[in-house]
Symmetry: C2
Subunit: 266 residues, 2 copies
C-alpha cells in the first residue's frame, strides 16, 4: 500500500486500526531468471537496509487470506502458489527498536497527515510474531510495488543479497531450506518457468535448486517418462544448429503427478 495522497494515508491508518496487533506476515517471493533464483525485497526508506514484503492480518481475515492479499499488493498477482512454512517468534522481534530508529520512524510519520501518529508509531514499534509464507512466481509477470515503509521493490539474486533487517535473512534461509526439502512436492517448474521453456531451462532450474549438476540424458529420459510435458513448435534461434524444442506442462497431469512427487530422488 504505497501512500501517495492524503486518502492513502487515511486508508493506511484505518487499516492499522482494523488489524491484529503483534502479528505479521512476511513473504519470501521467489522467482527464476538468467539461471538464478531471485527474491523480491523492499528497501527501507532512508536506509540501506532491505526487508521481505510483509503486512498485517485484518481482524476479519484468515491468515492465508492475508498472505494472499499482501502478495497481491506487492506483485499485482493473484492466484499464485503460496504456502506457509514457519512462524518466527523471537522475543526481540521489533522492527523499530533503537532510539535512532524510533526517531526516524516518528519523523517519517510526521511527514504524513496521520490522525493519531503516536498510535501508529506505537503499533509499529511493538514486538511482532511473524508467520512466513513463500511464493513461487514467474518473474516477468510481476510489477513490484513498494509499500509505505519502503522506497524500492526489487528482485535480488540469492547469490548477492543485501543486508536485511531483523531476522529476515534467517527467515529467507529457512524458506529456501524448506523449498529444497519439499522440492518433489512443489510445482517448481510450473510456477517458476514461463509458459514455454526448453528442456535445458527445466534442467537448469533443478540444478540451481538442488545446487548440483545433473546428467542430461537421464534427466530428459525421466522427465519425458512422467508424461507431463507437451511439446511445441520449435522456436528458431538464428544460430547455426538445431534449435531446442519448446515444452509446456500438461497442467492436469502435472498436478496429478505432483501428489506423488515430481523429481524422483535425483
Amino acid at each position: 500500500m504505497a501512500l501517495r495522497s492524503e486518502d492513502h494515508v487515511h486508508q493506511f491508518e484505518a487499516h492499522l486500526n482494523d488489524v491484529i496487533p503483534g502479528h505479521s506476515i512476511d513473504c519470501v517471493i521467489l522467482g527464476y531468471h538468467d539461471n538464478e533464483l531471485k527474491v523480491l525485497l523492499l528497501r527501507r526508506k532512508g536506509q540501506d537496509l532491505w526487508s521481505l514484503p510483509g503486512g498485517f492480518i485484518r481482524k476479519s481475515e484468515d491468515l492465508d487470506t492475508a498472505a494472499t492479499r499482501i502478495l497481491e499488493e506487492r506483485t499485482g498477482l493473484g492466484s499464485i502458489f503460496l504456502q506457509q512454512f514457519y512462524t518466527f517468534g523471537g522475543q526481540d522481534r521489533r522492527s523499530v527498536s533503537s532510539k535512532s530508529e524510533i526517531a526516524m520512524l516518528n519523523n517519517m510519520l510526521k511527514q504524513y497527515p496521520f490522525k493519531e501518529p503516536d498510535k501508529v508509531s506505537a503499533f509499529l514499534r511493538d514486538r511482532f510474531i511473524t508467520t512466513g509464507y513463500f511464493a513461487l512466481v514467474q518473474l516477468n509477470k510481476v510489477s513490484p510495488q513498494p509499500d509505505f515503509m519502503s522506497s524500492q521493490c526489487e528482485w535480488k539474486s540469492l547469490k548477492a543479497l543485501p543486508e536485511l533487517i531483523l531476522d529476515h535473512s534467517h527467515i529467507l534461509q529457512k524458506a529456501i531450506a524448506h523449498v529444497q526439502t519439499q522440492l518433489n512436492y512443489l510445482p517448481i517448474g510450473l510456477s517458476l518457468l514461463s509458459k514455454k521453456f526448453t528442456m535445458q531451462d527445466l534442467q537448469n532450474l533443478y540444478e540451481v535448486l538442488l545446487n548440483r549438476s545433473l546428467d542430461r540424458g537421464n534427466f530428459q529420459r525421466k522427465m519425458l517418462a512422467l508424461n507431463i510435458l507437451k511439446r511445441h513448435e520449435k522456436q528458431l534461434t538464428g544460430k547455426a544448429h538445431k534449435a531446442p524444442y519448446l515444452y509446456s506442462f500438461d497442467v492436469p497431469r502435472y498436478n496429478e503427478k505432483l501428489k506423488k512427487g515430481i523429481g524422483f530422488s535425483f
Copy 2:
C-alpha cells in the same frame, strides 16, 4: 497451571496480564504404548469436549520457549523433542463464542477470586491465532496435569478420539501428517520407545506410523546395518522359547545418522 488456591488464581491472572493477546500455542504430545499412538488431551470443565494442551506466550518469551514451558506444565517433562509444525489462523478461531459458552465461562470465572474477571473473560473470548507444536515423549515418563480450563488430562488413542474443540482435530491431523512425511528425520525410536526395547517393538512402531506392515528380515537387516543399536542382555520372558534381545540406541551415532535420515525409503 491448575488453580487450587487463591494464590494460584492470582498467579494465573498475573500471567494473563504478562502475555501476548491474540496468540496461543497448542501442543500435540504424542506417545506410544500397546502398539498404538496416543495423544495427550485435556477435558474441558463441565463439558464432554476435549482439547489439545495449550497456552500463551509471555511478552518476554520466545515462541519456542513458551512451547517448552507449556509442555513442561502439562507433562512435568523438560528436554523433550519438540518442534513447531504449523500456524493456524482461521478468522473464526475463538475458543468461546456462542452465548451459552460465554455464559458458562463467565460463570466459571465467578467461582474464582479474580480481581478483574471481565478482563480475563474478554481475553479468553478473543480470536486467537495459534501455533502448533508437536512433541514425542515416552508415555510412561509423563505425569499429566490438567490446566485451569480442564478437569482431566489423559492419553487417548488416535484410533478412538473423542470430540475436540474448535479446529483441534484439524491441528492434530496436520501434526500426524507432518510426522509421517518427516519420519526419516525425526528421532522416532529414541523419543517414543523406552530406553530398552526389542526389535519387534521398533518394527511395530514404524508399522504403526507408516500404517503398513514391513518384512521382518529386511527391517532387521537394515536397522542393524545402521550401526546405531546397542544390544543388551536378554530379559527372560518366562515363556517356553528363546527370548528376544533387548536393544537401546547409541545416542551419538543415532543423532549422526538422523541428519541424513533414518528409515530408508521402506
